[in-house]
């Protein structure tokens, strides 16, 4: 560790490692190509960019991409029909519905996501995948949370017996991450509403702080115990530039940081594609938070 500075956990490097081993696995496999489908509604600039990143990474690995782009005026029924047809297509292994759907489109993204068969839900964002995580049942784990755990694990950051604090209560990252930390053996996890005025105090007691609040530089050095690990997930846009939840000054106090950008984002893409390759083989990705999960024949859910 550099003097007075936290170790920066390099999500891009770890992503490249994962994509490299996936590429080798895909190249060595016989049989039909692995197909990853994305569904994008509207033309929001950030969403278009995220989908393009995922496509590029998939192609790099040798996964075939099927990108469906629908106008914001697509109706609920047409959107659900599109997702359902990908769901029933045996050639497609993984389906991603890019969120959010455009504001004002009147589309119900929860209902649309429910059309993704759980075994193709490689982003792990449907209610069923979240429920499988709650119950400790085999399933695709939410990609961002699983990616963060993998990154910590790849740097041998121990979780067992530690105290964790998660700032944020979103069901995409904060909630699944809290569950996965529990599964990984943390002694306690505090889940903190970003609006809470005592959030800093709760965080100072933790060995691991994760912030998914989407509030620029919310987590300052006063929030962090010396030597703690700090994970920056939230994204704000300030003057066209991506700004995370964690103040850079935290690096003087923390033992390790997952930066933003360059941490959770690349790891999300890596897990998404690892889940897709696993889905093509009829199984689920082994998670850092628990034992290897095999698909159980005949169990729906």
């Amino acid at each position: 560790m550099a003097a007075g500075g936290a170790v920066v956990l390099d999500g891009r490097r770890r992503r490249d490692e994962i994509l490299g081993s996936l590429a080798a696995e895909v190249a060595a496999a016989d049989g039909p190509p692995v197909v990853f489908a994305t569904v994008l509604v509207g033309d929001d600039e950030a969403s278009v960019r995220y989908v393009a990143l995922k496509h590029a990474a998939a192609r790099r690995v040798g996964i075939e991409v099927r990108g469906v782009q629908l106008p914001a005026t697509v109706g609920q029924a047409a959107l659900e029909a599109e997702i359902t047809s990908l769901g029933t297509d045996p050639a497609v292994s993984g389906i991603l519905l890019q969120l959010p759907v455009p504001e004002g489109s009147g589309l119900d993204e929860v209902s649309a996501a429910a059309c993704i068969p759980p075994d193709k839900d490689v982003d792990g964002m449907t209610a069923t995948s979240l429920g499988r995580l709650v119950l400790g049942a085999p399933g695709h784990r939410p990609a961002t949370a699983a990616g963060i755990l993998d990154l910590l694990d790849s740097y041998r950051i121990a979780l067992r017996g530690r105290r964790a604090a998660v700032v944020g209560t979103g069901s995409m990252v904060a909630i699944p991450l809290a569950l996965m930390l529990v599964a990984a053996g943390v002694v306690s996890v505090s889940v903190i509403d970003p609006a809470d005025t005592d959030a800093d105090r709760s965080c100072r007691e933790a060995d691991l702080v994760v912030s998914d609040a989407a509030r620029a530089h919310l987590v300052g050095p006063g929030w962090v115990k010396a030597g703690a690990t700090v994970v920056d997930v939230g994204v704000s846009w300030v003057e066209g530039r991506l700004v995370g939840d964690v103040d850079p000054a935290v690096r003087a106090v923390a033992g390790a940081v997952v930066p933003n950008p360059g941490g959770a984002g690349p790891m999300t893409v890596a897990v998404l594609l690892a889940n897709t390759v696993a889905a093509a083989r009829g199984c689920y990705l082994r998670s850092a938070a628990g034992p290897g999960a095999r698909r159980v024949g005949g169990v729906g859910g």
Partner: protein, 309 residues
Amino acid sequence: MDATIIDGAAVSATLRGRLERELATLRRSGGAPGLASVVVGDDYAAHAYERRLRRLAEAVGCRFQAERLPADVEEADALATVGKLNADPRVTGILVLRPLPPQLSEISLYATLDPLKDVEAVHPVNAGLMARGTPRFVPSTPASCFWLLDDYLRGTGRDPASWLRGRTVVIVGRSHNVGKPAIWLALDRGAVVIDCDEHASAAGRLAAFTRQADVLIVAAGVPGLISADMVADGVIAVDVGINAVPDRTTGGVRLVGDLDFDSVATRAEALTPVPGGVGPVTDVWLVRNALLGAVLQQTNLAIRPWPEH
């Protein structure tokens, strides 16, 4: 400090009155609720619970059906029993009681439940909807904890929605049916939630968490786990544990909770007793969930998983 003992029986009676009115409304619209329990083997507590539910259900006019399977039942037969209940239109709620013998996969059994009849929200889709804060059914035990808490706060002139915001709720125990859903209910009320379990006590660290609690919910299944020195003055403590311990005076057994009741009562603002706290509310909640199942079968009638008070 004189702690208030929260009277679960009284709250349960009020909730039962509401349930009976809702049942009458349902019947007028042609609906009929039915609760079915599945018990495997001869676990005493499971059978006792089944009998208690039957008494309550039949007293309020809800059909009740008990499925009893032998301890050595094959998984295919257990799944078939659930399938039969799924297909039976008279059954609107299915409760699979634990413990289950080792040859049965709890997860497979849960995933076989019709999600629209899964009154304890253990099917993956319902567990996920619960975790996301958009429950179809709220499982009975954690629901009862917060129903009691809300009722107590309201009764003492505090608005539960605003009072809990920013306060610390500590949940001891991480079970699928109590601890985890309690996290979601606490977050839903804007609380800071600390989730830990009894393993923290082995490390000598449990007290460091429980002392931070404005509201303490204990569902660890360890008799007398929490004593006065482990809580802050003025805590509101909700006890989910039901533990049978030998009674030295009678030579029989008696039921105690996870709180060392007399000890915690010296510091708490209020606490729930065992028995007579969470338990009686749980039974009514479960029958109400079967009613909710009947509504789901029937229409989109406006009965909500979490009723307005």
